[in-house]
Symmetry: C2
Subunit: 333 residues, 2 copies
DNA sequence: CGTTGGCACTCGGTACAATCGAGTGCCAGA
DNA sequence: TCTGGCACTCGATTGTACCGAGTGCCAACG
C-alpha cells in the first residue's frame, strides 16, 4: 500500500497528466500540487512509484506518465466523488423532461446527450427483452409471398420479423393465424414463449409455427441493439489517426461492443482501463459503464469510451446520472 | 475544351495521384502513362492545365495535384465505364441473396456491404413514406397513461408513435379507437391521411384525433431515417486527425447527411467533388450518390463519402450496382 | 510552329551538428 | 529523512548544408 504522500503525488501526476497530456516532472509537480517538500524528495518518491509500476517514463529525462495500474489506483482510491457542473446536470434534466420520442430514437439521442456532457464517445445498449411481456401480436400481409409479424412489448419496443408465405395463402388465413397467435402470446414473456396448440387447419398451423420460430430465433440470435454517438469527440482525443481508425472499427461492430460492456460489468467493474478492457485495439482506451434498471430490474447498459487519460470523476458521475434518469424515464412509459 | 493530349495528361495525373497520393511531375508522367513525348513537352501542357485551373502545385518545385475542377473533368469526360472486380460483384450478389432481415437491419447491413466493396464510408437513406400505403394500424395500451400507435406500411417499415392517454382511459376505449383508426386508415397513403369521421363517443374521438395528429407531425417533421457504416475506412484515407473529426461530426448528424445527399441529387449530379459538396468541413471529400427505386418509384438514396482522391469509377459502379439491387430486393418484399 | 534538350533555379525533405532545457539519479550534508 | 547541488541524459528545437525532383525558360531542331 502507498503511504499518504506517495498517494498524493500519484494523484497529482494523474490529474496533471489528464489535464495537459504531457509527461509531468518533479518541479512542475511541487508547483501544481501544494506539496511542502522539495523537488528532490518528490523525485525519490516518483522513482519508487515507477519501480512499483504506477508510473513510467517515456524516456530518460522526461517526466512521468501514469500506467494502467496508476490510473486504476487513482480511480479506486483517490477519485473524489465526481460532481457534474450545474450546466451539465441541467442539460441532463432538460433532455429527459423534453424527450417524448419512440424508445429507439430516445436511446439514440441519449448517446448524444451523454457524449455532449462527457466529451467522449457514448454507448447505450437497449433494454433486453427478457422481462418484457407481449402486449400485442399481429401478422400483416405485405406482398403475396411475404407477411410481417409485429410484436409490441410492454417496454415500448416493437419487434418485427419477416415471415414467408406459401404460394396462394389468402388474407383470411393470415388473419386467422394472426388472431390465434395473439390469443396465445399476449401476456407472455419473450424469454418463455409457450407452445401453441394447433387450430386444426393445416396451412394456418404451418404459418403459426413458422412465425413463432422466427420470433424465437430472433430472440436467441440477435445481439441486443446498441447505439453509439459522439465518435467525433473521441477522435479529437487521440493524435494518431491509426488509433482513431481502430477505435472506430470496434465501435462499429455492435456485437463486439455489447460483449465488451457485458464483460466489464460481469467482472464487477464500472471502469476498465487500457489493457483491462481486453481488446488489443482499445489498449489506449478506457471504458466507463453502468447498468440501468427499468422498474427495478436490470435492463440495459450505458457507457462511455475514451482515452485512458479521460476525466474519470466526471465520466463516472455522468454515466451514473444519465443511467439512472434513463431507467426512470423508461419505467414511466 | 481540352485537346486530346491535354486530356490524356490530365487523366494520367488524376489516376496517378489517386493511386499514390503524391504530387505527380512531368517525368513520372511520361513513364507511367505511355506518352510519346518528352518531359519538357509535358511540362508545357501541365503549365497550361494549371493556368486553366485543372491542376495546382502545392509549392514550386513540386509535381501537380488535381483541383476539384480537374477531378470534375476526369469524372465527366474521362471516367471509363467502371467495372467492379468479380470478387466484389460476387460479394454484392451474395449479400442480397442471403439477407432476410427486417428492413432497418438490412439497410444497416447494406452500408457495411457498400463500405466493404468501396473501402469508403457508406450511407443509406431509408425509403421515404410518400408512396407507401398503410397496411395495418393498431393502438396498444402500454401503461395507464401511455399507448403506442403502431402502423405497418406496405414497404415493410413499421412506424410507431407514443400517444398519451387521459387519466382513466379504459382498455375498451383504446380498442375502440384502434378499430376506428384501422377502419379509416388502412389502404391510405401516409402523405394524404384523410379526415376521420367522429364516432360520437367523445373520449374515443379525442384519442383518435390525437393519434392522427402524432402521425401527421411525425411524418412532416422527422427526417428520413439514415444509416451510416464504414466510418473507420474513411478515417484511414486522411492523415490529419482533425479532418477525420470533422467528417465524423457531419456523418453523425443525420439531418445534415440527408439534406446533403438530397441537394446533390437535386442538382442532377451523381458525384459532388470537394467544394461542390457545399460543406466547409467536407472540402476534402467527395460524395457519390444514387437514388434507388422501389416498384418503379424513387424511394431512397444510397451513397459513399470519401476523400476527393477516391477511385471514382469503382465508387460509381458500386453505388449504382448496390442501389439497383437494393431497390429490387425491397420491391420483392 | 510544335517539340525537344539543356540549364539555371526553387524549395521541400533529409541528414547532421549544436544547443537548450526539462528532468533525472546520486550524493554529501543538514 | 529531507534537501540542495551537480553531473548527466536525451528529446526537441534550431541552423546549415545538401540533395534531388521538379519547374520555367530558351535556343535549336525537324
Amino acid at each position: 500500500m502507498l503511504d499518504e504522500r506517495k498517494a498524493a503525488i500519484l494523484r497529482a501526476v494523474v490529474e496533471e497528466y489528464i489535464e495537459t497530456a504531457q509527461p509531468v516532472g518533479s518541479s512542475r509537480l511541487v508547483h501544481s500540487a501544494h506539496l511542502q517538500v522539495s523537488p528532490a524528495t518528490v523525485r525519490n518518491e516518483l522513482a519508487v512509484l515507477e519501480r512499483d509500476g504506477y508510473l513510467v517514463q517515456p524516456h530518460t529525462s522526461a517526466g512521468r506518465v501514469p500506467t494502467d495500474k496508476g490510473y486504476r489506483f487513482f480511480v479506486d482510491q483517490l477519485t473524489p466523488k465526481g460532481r457534474l457542473e450545474a450546466a451539465q446536470r441541467q442539460a441532463v434534466a432538460d433532455f429527459f423532461s423534453r424527450t417524448h420520442d419512440a424508445v429507439e430514437q430516445m436511446l439514440h439521442d441519449t448517446t448524444r446527450l451523454l457524449s455532449g456532457v462527457t466529451d467522449l464517445a457514448a454507448v447505450v445498449v437497449a433494454p433486453g427483452h427478457e422481462v418484457a411481456t407481449i402486449r400485442s401480436v399481429q401478422l400483416v400481409a405485405l406482398g403475396h409471398r411475404l407477411a410481417l409479424l409485429v410484436v409490441v412489448l410492454s417496454n415500448g419496443v416493437v419487434e418485427k420479423r419477416g415471415v414467408e408465405l406459401d404460394e396462394g395463402t389468402g388474407d383470411d388465413r393470415v388473419a386467422g393465424a394472426s388472431a390465434h397467435l395473439a390469443g396465445h402470446l399476449v401476456g407472455q414473456q419473450m424469454s418463455t414463449l409457450p407452445e401453441i396448440p394447433p387450430t386444426g387447419d393445416r396451412a394456418t398451423d404451418d404459418l403459426v409455427t413458422d412465425a413463432v420460430a422466427r420470433l424465437r430465433e430472433g430472440h436467441d440470435a440477435e445481439p441486443d441493439q446498441v447505439f453509439v454517438g459522439g465518435a467525433s469527440r473521441m477522435a479529437a482525443a487521440f493524435d494518431a489517426v491509426e488509433t482513431v481508425r481502430q477505435v472506430l472499427d470496434i465501435l462499429e461492430q455492435q456485437y463486439v461492443v455489447v460483449t465488451l460492456l457485458r464483460d466489464v460489468l460481469d467482472r464487477g467493474l464500472s471502469v476498465a482501463i487500457g489493457s483491462e478492457v481486453g481488446h488489443e485495439s482499445l489498449a489506449e482506451c478506457s471504458v466507463v459503464v453502468a447498468p440501468y434498471e427499468v422498474e427495478g430490474e436490470p435492463a440495459g447498459t450505458i457507457g462511455v469510451v475514451g482515452p485512458t487519460r479521460m476525466k474519470y470523476p466526471q465520466a463516472l458521475a455522468a454515466v451514473a446520472l444519465v443511467g439512472r434518469r434513463l431507467g426512470e424515464r423508461l419505467s414511466e412509459g
